[in-house]
Amino acid sequence: MRIRTTKKLGQRVDRSYVGELFPIPLWRRILTAGALAIALAWLGLYAIARNQTPYTAGPLTQAHAFLGKQCATCHGSGAGVAKQVADQKCAACHDAPIHNVEQARMPVCVDCHVDHRGELRLAGINDRSCISCHSNLQTKSGKITVAANVGSFADHPEFAAVQKGRDPVGLRFNHAKHVGELSQKCSDCHTPVSLSGRMPPRTKISDRALMSIPTYAGTCMPCHTLNFDDKITDAAPHDKPAAVHQFVSDALTRYIAAHPGDLGKDGAPAGAAAWVKFKTEADEKQLWDVTCARCHEMTEPVASGLPMVVPAAPPARWFVRATFDHGAHQGLTCASCHPNAAKSTVASDLLLPGIATCRNCHNGGRASAGSSCATCHVYHDWSKTKGVDGKYTIDKLT
């Protein structure tokens, strides 16, 4: 009977096996050597070609892609832990005007502009960069002129212009009459124009960003001519009262010189100088009290004997700290955002949409239009741009 005791099983073993290399350990070594060889050959070939692309933390943006072979161009070459690209390296090619002289903390470029993330727009910075200061805003002087605690668009206060509650235009204008009674279209008076001066170079913003300020000559004159006398065909200029007075006086002087037969008629004086003075007073009363006053606030006559016009001050930009692009919203009707325009009877009515209107689309949800800080705000004050004196040559960079 065959009995397999532990002792018998133990006796089967040929102890000389210990020093031998059997298939699995052998293949483990072969594969290890092979894998290491492939990996080092890969890096070695790039090293021979003096190309450091394998070590990149990720693809550069298209604008920086040509710099990818030489890390030191941007990163420098001194060893160190947690090194960042120095601002001077960025400033060698880029101008970066200050954000605000009052800012308490001055971030370095790479705090906001993080490259090696592929085809992202470097200027389209993450909200984190903004709210790191604006969620609890501190300034050098301690004076704060904007909202101090903004963590997202949901926290954003009502627009400053809307908070004022009225349009400071200083004119008389009846939107309801023009749009309703006269059936005018918004575009008859409001035309889009480009926003320039405060945007970074090559920013993709349309040339229809702002709405122009309607002017008398460009918008009102076809209907509202400044005629002041039946005998004079020329209309008065849209100018200051003194200039208007001079124009009226001169026009009447020329008229009576050409038509002396009118002297003494209809109760007018018989002398030419007296006739001009008499007619000027009558015509100007019509101008100041009716024609000009239709659109302008007029004061009582001052020392010169002429009234003053309360200056019209329509804001060139309502959102002075933000960039709004009408061109990007051209698919909407004007009334979508300005629903009260057709009902407004006085020019001081504020027809600007509030933040609630914007949040209909820009609400941070999955299907939201952009609602990041950079959607509307620009960090650098591009009105202070100074330009850059180039330092590199093509050979050095490629």
């Binding site: 009977m1 397999r4 089967r12 073993v13 699995i24 990996a39 990149t56 090194k83 090696h116 984190r128």
Partner: protein, 303 residues
């Protein structure tokens, strides 16, 4: 190594470290200017921790190579290898902010995932398979000794059959040529007392051995042999017992036992391949990962 209650302290420590690392990562990820990234100070701390854990896991291999080093118990190293090795993945993910955009970092992340997955596979196999082997292969031997043991089994079978057939002076059964060993000589008691086969019975035994048992012993993993399957083997030997006298049934049982042992060795070989085959992926990729990770760290510090 079985993952049992002896791992509790390691498990608690690992989960605690993971929880703490995650808690710290969340505010870092949300509020760090420019977002979480590998070259920020928190990102570097995660990277150093992750690479340190990988190095510790890798050092277990070195510790195995030099068993005489008395640096901690092998079981402690193994537990550390399992838990810290697994923990290195979340640490590296936190380090990289869940991105691997560069060529080298992508390769590193891919290798790390392969290492962790193969390691988890290996840990599972090491947890479950040894028990299965214990029940399915009671006559388990050292894997590398299987060919030697098989040689011995063939010699043993040859000796038995030789002993049964030699009495009549009929065809002598030579030891299989590949064994290189001479078959043990039957004792006088065996020759006189046990064997009393007729010529036809010896022929039947000889035929069964030459056409059934010997080919199986020479190539036990061949799918053609009926003896490769326990049920078929039982039928085979039952039929043989019916053809041969009761006096040699015990010897037939020994032959059947040898065939059974052969089948166990075959099973053991298969188990071994499963139990250790994953190391063919895990070890080369781990070492490559450590080397490339070191290069990544040096270049990152330089730039």
């Amino acid at each position: 190594m079985r993952i049992d209650s002896s791992h509790r302290n390691w498990a608690v420590a690992s989960v605690s470290i993971l929880g703490l690392a995650t808690l710290l990562y969340l505010p870092y990820s949300f509020f760090y200017p420019g977002g979480a990234r590998g070259n920020s100070l928190p990102g570097l701390i995660y990277g150093v921790l992750g690479y340190g854990m990988m190095l510790y896991a890798g050092l277990m291999g070195a510790r195995k190579k030099v068993p005489l080093w008395r640096i901690g118990r092998a079981s402690v190293w193994m537990r550390g290898h399992l838990w810290l090795g697994a923990l290195s993945l979340p640490m590296i993910l936190f380090h990289s902010a869940f991105y691997a955009r560069g060529p080298l970092t992508f390769v590193l992340m891919t290798l790390l995932v392969i290492v962790i997955l193969s390691g988890l596979t290996g840990a599972m196999l090491q947890h479950f398979l040894p028990r299965r082997i214990l029940s399915d292969v009671p006559l388990e031997t050292i894997y590398e000794q299987i060919p030697t043991v098989r040689e011995q089994l063939r010699a043993e079978a040859s000796t038995i059959v030789d002993g049964l057939c030699r009495k009549s002076g009929a065809v002598a059964v030579a030891a299989p040529p590949e064994t290189g060993r001479s078959a043990p000589v039957a004792t006088a008691e065996e020759e006189e007392g046990l064997i009393g086969l007729t010529e036809s019975e010896r022929m039947n035994l000889r035929q069964a051995y030459n056409t059934g048992i010997l080919p199986f012993l020479r190539d036990p993993e061949s799918p053609d042999s009926p003896l490769g399957d326990a049920k078929h083997a039982a039928v085979f030997f039952e039929a043989l017992r019916k053809q041969l006298p009761t006096s040699i049934h015990e010897s037939l049982s020994d032959l059947e036992s040898i065939c059974d042992e052969e089948r166990q060795l075959t099973r053991q070989g298969r188990f071994y391949l499963v139990l250790h085959g994953w190391l063919l992926i895990h070890v080369p990729i781990s070492i490559t990962l450590l080397v490339l990770g070191g290069i990544h760290a040096i270049v990152a510090i330089r730039y």
